[in-house]
């Protein structure tokens, strides 16, 4: 009777230990692979090593950052959470893309529109100088160029000279 009680408590203790271990293991998650770490690392740039993505950067600082990403993945942090942490710690310049701000897209957009407008006006002046100089406003819609009063006048003057 006594030995069966001991066995019962031993089983209970074993179950409790296993349950605790399983709980902590599931909370931490599996160890992420290098590919999983690099998938996030390649979207980040260390300010110390400019123009080198974190996944291929060979410096000690970058190695520490990759370790930190791995640790955060183990802790169950999502990709966005990890990137947000890095921005908060090291600034927005660590991102491979600029933050989604209005001014980021507004300035190039305005510049492109202004450039397109200038090009359009330039082409308009380039293509139609002869027509505008002849006074296109005086031309009736649908009239042929040879019916233009200015051209007729010019031809008349030429005939007189002959």
């Amino acid at each position: 009777m006594r030995s069966s009680r001991i066995i019962f408590y031993a089983l209970l203790l074993t179950l409790a230990v296993v349950a605790l271990w399983a709980d902590s293991a599931s909370a931490q998650g599996p160890t992420p692979t290098d590919d999983e770490v690099n998938r996030i690392a390649k979207q980040l740039y260390c300010p110390v090593c400019e123009s080198t993505p974190l996944d291929v950067c060979p410096t000690e600082a970058c190695r520490q950052w990759r370790d930190l990403i791995r640790t955060m993945l183990v802790e169950g942090k999502s990709e966005d959470e990890i990137k947000q942490y890095f921005v908060a710690q090291y600034g927005a310049r660590v991102l491979d893309e600029p933050p989604n701000r209005l001014v980021t897209y507004l300035v190039p957009g305005v510049a492109i529109l202004l450039g397109a407008f200038m090009l359009l006006r330039g082409f308009q002046m380039w293509i139609k100088p002869s027509i505008t100089e002849a006074g296109p406003s005086d031309m009736k819609p649908g009239s042929k160029p040879d019916q233009d009063p200015y051209i007729a006048k010019l031809e008349e003057e030429l005939k007189k000279q002959k």
């Binding site: 600082a61 520490q64 950052w65 908060a88 710690q89 600034g91 305005v110 202004l114 100089e133 406003s137």
Partner: protein, 190 residues
């Protein structure tokens, strides 16, 4: 031959559009010029009043029991601001000297040392601080705001700010002896 008056055609970009375009181009040029000027300026120069900044502190490395320190609260004291990182090998050369200097000046209450951890990870930073027995206030340069203000070119760099908040000396690179540190602090205390 009779003269024919031909109305001058209306040509070119309207005035309002020209103004907008020129203002926009001038703005772009100003931005580029400011960027180039800033890139060539180097670090902040001695004689300049250092603007206030807030440094959050690592737990265990607080200042006066507070978890962050504001530079403006340190007016009246000499402030030694050291930029470092755990991945920086030259920083290790001066870590012991800085700590020794802090041990010497701490009892006077007239000198404050601030360690600013640049682009680092906290676990490694803590290992570094422990390895070199650093006890003065230390914290991370969040979003690299402070280092951008000082326009540091690398680590280590150390800035000596006098009691009025004016920068007096910049040490680029590591100190090689404690005498070098004393040589900057002692004249400020006289």
């Amino acid at each position: 031959m009779t003269e024919t008056s031909i109305p001058a055609p209306r040509r070119g970009v309207p005035l309002w559009a020209q103004i907008i375009i020129w203002v926009f181009l001038a703005g772009l040029l100003v931005i580029v010029a400011l960027g180039l000027k800033r890139a060539q300026e180097g670090t902040v120069q001695p004689g300049q009043v250092i603007e206030d900044f807030t440094l959050p502190l690592y737990s265990g490395y607080e200042f006066d029991g507070k978890s962050e320190v504001h530079l403006k609260d340190l007016r009246g004291k000499v402030v030694v601001i050291n930029f470092w990182a755990s991945w920086c090998k030259p920083c290790e050369q001066e870590a012991a000297e800085l700590q020794q200097a802090w041990t010497e000046y701490e009892p006077t209450g007239e000198v404050i040392f601030l360690g600013i951890d640049y682009v680092d990870t906290e676990p490694e930073a803590r290992l570094y601080l422990k390895k070199f027995g650093v006890t003065y206030a230390n914290g991370p340069d969040l979003a690299t705001r402070i280092s951008q203000y000082f326009r540091i070119k690398g680590v280590p760099e150390t800035y000596f700010v006098d009691q009025e908040g004016v920068l007096q000396y910049v040490q680029v690179g590591p100190f090689t002896s404690i005498e070098q540190i004393r040589a900057q602090i002692d004249p400020l205390l006289e």
